[in-house]
Structure formats: structure tokens, C-alpha cells
Symmetry: C2
DNA sequence: CAACATGAATGACCGTCAGTCATAATTTTC
DNA sequence: GAAAATTATGACTGACGGTCATTCATGTTG
């Protein structure tokens, strides 16, 4: 009696196909300008069918966003698994986030679009929960790595790992957002390389967090 | 012949009244959920009239945003005008930004909503230009203050004032965005005070930029 | 195999809303 | 005070998110 299971698989497969289509359209046009008719067209389904699988356009958007979080999680996991000194791993984590920004720009943008408070009206509780979980997994990696750094004496023990994580993350995100918006403006008109600014900012923050002994190690590991 | 001038004033006055109404509605509901009918109702005008004064809903939104930029500019100007040592003024500028975030939250949110690339379809060129100009005025204050700090030997001469400005701004903005979204989550679940994190981040970045001699002065001026 | 049952898929339809435009009201000009 | 010019109106249009009565495909039963 594998019929219900086969049906289940097919249903899951269809859900994935719909996300594929939605992703294509959302990446092209963004949440506002994408229409459900377009997505249905791309998925080769009728609009009504989309609503059998997802509660709303925003719900679909979050489903795509969750994929983006998975990708970032995988990239971060790879860094954590490295057998490198912790200082290097922390630097690599920041590099990985920058690489994510550059290689997965569309997903990165979704992160920022997501927190628009107006969006959360018609999203399903499960989808919101799923996104929160994925988000938490990413945070835990960052926090865990910093905690490890403290334990190994690379980062000062007076530092709160959670606070350090949010500082590094938010600072990086802020600069990447600037890069995303107006990198050209800053490089062409202002003569400022924002990527270099990002690296500098991270270096400054990290330097302020590290123990005296580790600073020399860090310098040669990163800069 | 003051008739055309009176007319001009009246027209400008009406434009302001419309922004007042739009601001009320936008602050309540945000760009997406606010409707032009509501704004017209609040302005005690017909919807058609709104379109005589502003090209689109987004245009109106930008008009409100420009006000928010003016307020920030005024706050920053006050700091620049202080007769305090430059290190203190820089610290006060960062304080002023935090105060803006806390006291003018609605405007602050608009900053982040603004750079949604999907929004810029039907906005007038003038409005976009006006916002860019206002934005630039704010940047110039930040950059100018840091440049002054370099000239006075408080900030290291190897620092590029524009780069320093974008680092401080983006880092602060990133953390404030986090505060705006999920301050409660961070304080209640994670036990992290994001405002303290912001102050820490700024202190770390500033400390990395300052000359050795100025660091002691800064410590007593800010922390 | 035919009658029936299940649930997936459809697309016409609905309500809402940004934006338009023909018409009306008001003000200015002569 | 009539014609002209300017300003205001709100019914209307098209587009879009979301719904639902109906159709269709597949599996079950006798």
C-alpha cells in the first residue's frame, strides 16, 4: 500500500516545483511586482492551484526565503567544519557571508525585504515558524563560533558571544545593504570601495574583541 | 501684483496639508496598506486632487520621507554647531542618530523601506532628486565631522573620512534595524541589550580609528 | 467493467485599489 | 458679469490577490 506515500511524494514535488517558479519570478521582479498569474504561468498551473499549496503570495515568498537561509546555513556549516584555528574560522565565516552576498544576491535581498512589517498579514503560522527556525540555526552557528573563540582564549572573555554575534552580523548586513543599493555611487562619485570598508569594519570590530595575544595571529590570518 | 505669489503660497500650503495627511496614514499603515482613498479622506480632498499635487502614491511617500531627512539633518546640524571638542561632537552625532531612531521611529523605518527597488517605478524625477539631495546633506555632515576629527589629530590620518562615515553609519543602521525588528526577541530570549550592543559597536569602531593620544580623551567623553 | 468516491486542478469571478478623465465648481480676467 | 483659466471631483478602468463552484483524473468497489 504505497499509494498514499507516492501521493505524498508527488505533492511534495509539486510544492517544490511551485517554489521554483515563484523563485524565478520573485528574483526577476521582487515581491510587489510579481503577480500570482505570472507565477502560475511559470509553474504551468492555474492560479487556484497555487493556493492549494500556499496560503498567499507572501507565504510563497517566505518559502523561497527559507531556501536562501538553507544555502547560507550550508555555507556557514562548511566553515565551522574546517580544521583551522578558531581565529581563521571566524574570519572565514565573515568571508562566507560576503560571498553569500555576492553569489546569492537575490536571496540576500529577500532577508531585507522580509522584515517589512506590512508583509505579515496573510502568512501561515507554519511558514513563519519555519523561517524563524532556519534563522535561528544560522544565528547559532555565528554565536557558537564566537563562544568557541572565547573558550580558546582568542576572544576576550569579557565579551558576550551573543552581543558579539549581533554586532558583527548587523554591521556586515548594514554595509552590504549599502553595497547592494548604491555601490556604484560610492565607488564612482565618492571614491570609496565599500567591500574594503566592510573588511575594515569587520577587522576593527574583531580587533576590539580579541585578546592581546591573539591579535598578532589574527593579523596574519586575515589581512 | 502679489496674486501669483499668494497663489503660489496657497498651492505650497496645500501640498503641505496633503503631506500631513499622507504622513498620518503612512505612519499608521505603512506604504503597502495605506490607500490613496484614505489619504484623500484624511486630507479632506478627493483622490483626484492628490494626483494634481503628487504623481503617485510612492511620490507622496518620498515627500514624507524627505521631511524625515530634514529632521535628521537639523538634529545633526545642532551637534555640529556645538562648541565642544571634536571627539565629543562625533560621539554626540552617534547619540543623535540613536535618538532619532528612538524618537522618530516612523521616519527611520521609511529610510529602510525606501531602497526597495520595486518602489521606483512611478516616482517623479524631482522627488527622487530632492531625496538624493537631502540624503547627501546628511552624509556631508557626517563626513565633514570626521574630516575635522582627522585635521584636529583626534582621528588617525590614515583613515579615509568617507569610508569611516559609511562604516559608522551602516553599522549603526544595521543594529538599529535589528532593534526595530526584534528588540524584544533579543532582550527577552537572548538576554542581549541591543542598544548597549550598538554603543559597544560604535565604541569599538571609533577606538580603532582614533589616534593613541585621543583615546583617553574619548573614553572619558563617551563611555 | 461500470458505477461511484476522492481530492486535485481549473478559471471565471469578486473585492480592492492605484490611477484617469470627463465634468463641475471656483477664481481670475477683461 | 460673461468668458477664460484654474482647481477640484468622483465615477470609472484595469490590474491583481484571492475564492469557489465545477470539472477532471485516479483509485475503489461490487
Amino acid at each position: 500500500m504505497g499509494i498514499t506515500e507516492r501521493k505524498e511524494r508527488e505533492k511534495e514535488h509539486r510544492r517544490e516545483e511551485i517554489i521554483d517558479a515563484a523563485q524565478t519570478i520573485f528574483f526577476q521582479k521582487g515581491l510587489q511586482l510579481a503577480t500570482m498569474d505570472e507565477i502560475a504561468e511559470a509553474a504551468e498551473l492555474s492560479k487556484g492551484t497555487l493556493y492549494l499549496y500556499y496560503k498567499s503570495k507572501e507565504d510563497l515568498y517566505l518559502a523561497v526565503l527559507a531556501r536562501g537561509m538553507d544555502i547560507l546555513y550550508d555555507m556557514f556549516s562548511t566553515v565551522v567544519a574546517e580544521s583551522e584555528p578558531i581565529a581563521k574560522k571566524i574570519a572565514h565565516l565573515l568571508d562566507a557571508y560576503l560571498r553569500y552576498f555576492k553569489e546569492q544576491r537575490n536571496y540576500f535581498r529577500m532577508f531585507f525585504f522580509f522584515d517589512n512589517p506590512q508583509v505579515h498579514k496573510q502568512v501561515s503560522e507554519e511558514m513563519l515558524q519555519a523561517c524563524a527556525t532556519h534563522n535561528m540555526k544560522v544565528w547559532n552557528i555565528v554565536i557558537g563560533l564566537i563562544r568557541e573563540g572565547i573558550e580558546e582564549g582568542v576572544i576576550d572573555h569579557s565579551i558576550d558571544p551573543k552581543q558579539a554575534a549581533v554586532i558583527l552580523w548587523a554591521s556586515s548586513s548594514g554595509l552590504m545593504r549599502q553595497m547592494d543599493r548604491e555601490d556604484h555611487y560610492w565607488s564612482d562619485v565618492m571614491g570609496v570601495n565599500l567591500e574594503e570598508a566592510l573588511r575594515r569594519a569587520n577587522a576593527m570590530i574583531l580587533a576590539s574583541m580579541m585578546t592581546e595575544g591573539a591579535k598578532t595571529q589574527f593579523r596574519e590570518a586575515v589581512v
